[in-house]
Amino acid sequence: MFDDLRDLYQEVIFDHNRNPRNFRIIEDADRKVEGFNPLCGDRLTLYLKMAGNVITDASFQGSGCAISTASVSLMTEIVKGKTEQEADTLFKQFHEMTTGKDERFNLEAVGKLAVLAGVREYPARVKCATLAWHTLDAALKNQQEAISTE
């Protein structure tokens, strides 16, 4: 019935929505930033544990749609073990993948994040996917205040 949506709602997204990874609080987190999408009410809190400039642990709490939950769940998996610079590069690639004009975007560069590439066809849903990454960006810049997609 929902054949048209297969690019947007891939099975991986349903899986992460049902069983979000790293859905917990890191009590002794080095970075903690809240992200908020006022248009839809999605809220998340991102926790990072750092060793030098390496992200040793990442987790989140909050509620959102399947796209935003899957996005933050995937993100916490992928940034673990990455340096701040590597995470920042991923952020830029993710942003390019979901909002960029270039149709020939190299999906291999972003690994399993590629399952979220479908949102570029749904402008109303792009912010659901990017909320997690904007929150990460704020955390990497060591911003304390909550960030908003608007």
């Binding site: 019935m1 929902f2 048209d4 949506l5 947007l8 709602y9 349903f14 929505n17 049902r18 248009l39 839809c40 009410g41 999605d42 809220r43 509620s63 959102g64 749609c65 399947a66 796209i67 939950t69 749904y122 109303a124 849903r125 659901c128």
Partner: protein
């Protein structure tokens, strides 16, 4: 009057649109209504045959344009049974109308320590203008609570009224819940304490026959686009004596009688509140929308919508994991709901792929979402052109997406 919904649907060209290859099922009427051909034609006709600026020219087109524009004012007056055309102020929407009252009546009559009473089910447009006024004046905003069904707790509302209360501003029908407030009783208890009452009719106006004199409300506001009319049109009704005493809203042309560099004499009602060239063509379109509604009859429309709401509610209650948000005894044609473990935005996108337009979000009523402890709801809202078959399509869609999410 008999009601043939298939014939009605022919009047709305957009209903023939295909969305992602499917028949459009438009269930977002609480956000805005689609327009009948007669409204579209009326705007085309004005610009093609009758258009010039109003209230100034001696030339033929200006006279024609003015007659049609003022004719629309009379149609609005009759539609809500106001006592006089002078009580009908054209603005760009219900939001502007409330801001107008806050910044004129409010600033003139509300001082530090005074109180304004609203309810917990208000749209942001009936919260924020009062918060701004409170910030400017030092007045205090009081919020009357609602119960789990989404109904005003009347006794608690009544207790909020005291000798410091300067205004009650309540929604006639809630856009997020569908609740229809007991406005007659609200006005009676407020008037017993000499407190004027503003009714936000943005949501009520296409569903309920409004008679401002029978209600005895002091202000009534609504938007044209929710009454099958054009965007950018809205109405502030105010009792003449109140409007006369209020200072103007904006300064400019049309709202003055005489201007020198030392003093300005303001125009009479309603022009005192209509500075600048108004939205001429769209206001004329609003008049055409009222003609259209009248040609069907508000009682007939209300009966049709009550049937749709009843049908949709029964079907929705049968879906496992669906929770209806807003179950007031008195309710208009709005079905707000949440699904277990499925976010309203996912519901919205999935239904869209089936051609079904609903709203997913906080409906500009974040305090209502907080009250029910949900981030958002999905909302199907019905209009005069909707059918039981469309509700079947919606419910089948909901059942299928629950399956897909597993």
């Amino acid at each position: 009057m008999t009601f043939d919904v298939e014939k009605i649907r022919q009047d709305f060209p957009i209903l023939k649109e295909k969305i992602r290859g499917k028949d459009l099922v438009y269930l977002d009427n609480a956000a805005t209504c689609q327009k009948p051909q007669s409204v579209i034609d009326s705007i085309v006709h004005v610009y093609s045959h009758d258009y010039a600026n109003v209230h100034r020219g001696v030339h033929t087109l200006s006279v024609r344009s003015t007659d049609k524009f003022e004719g629309a004012r009379t149609k609005v007056k009759d539609f809500i049974n106001a006592a006089s055309d002078k009580e009908i102020i054209f603005v760009k929407g219900a939001t502007e109308a409330i801001n107008l009252v806050a910044q004129t009546f409010g600033k003139a009559n509300i001082k530090a320590g005074d109180e304004i009473v609203i309810t917990a089910m208000e749209h942001h447009s009936n919260i924020v203008p009062w918060q701004m006024l409170c910030e400017q004046t030092g007045a205090i905003l009081k919020v009357a609570p609602i119960n789990q069904a989404g109904e005003l707790i009347f006794a608690e509302f009544e207790q909020l009224l005291n000798d410091k209360t300067r205004l009650v501003s309540v929604v006639h029908m809630s856009n997020a819940l569908g609740t229809i407030n007991p406005v007659k009783a609200i006005i009676e208890v407020a008037h017993a304490k000499n407190i004027p009452v503003l009714l936000d009719g943005a949501q009520a106006i296409p569903h309920i026959q409004v008679d401002v004199q029978a209600l005895d409300c002091d202000f009534y506001v609504f938007s044209g686009h929710k009454l099958y009319g054009p965007t950018g049109t809205g109405v502030l009704y105010g009792k003449q004596a109140l409007l006369e005493a209020m200072p103007p809203y904006q300064g400019g042309g049309d709202m003055i009688r005489k201007v020198t560099f030392t003093e300005t004499e303001y125009n009479t009602l309603p022009y005192k509140f209509e500075a600048g060239t108004p939205n001429i063509a769209d206001v004329i379109g609003l008049g055409a929308a009222i003609d259209y509604i009248n040609s069907i009859g508000m009682d007939v429309i209300a009966a049709h919508e009550a049937d749709l709401l009843h049908y949709a509610t029964e079907k929705a209650q049968a879906i496992k994991g669906l929770r209806i948000i807003g179950e007031a005894e008195e309710k208009g044609a709005i079905l707000s709901f949440v699904l277990d473990k499925i976010h309203p935005h996912d519901i919205g996108t999935m239904l869209d792929s089936l051609g079904i337009a609903i709203r997913a979000g906080h409906h500009c009523a974040m305090p209502v979402m907080d009250f029910y402890n949900v981030p958002a709801t999905a909302r199907a809202s019905f209009g005069l052109y909707n059918t039981r078959q469309e509700i079947d399509v919606l419910m089948n869609g909901i059942e299928s997406l629950i399956e897909v999410f597993g």
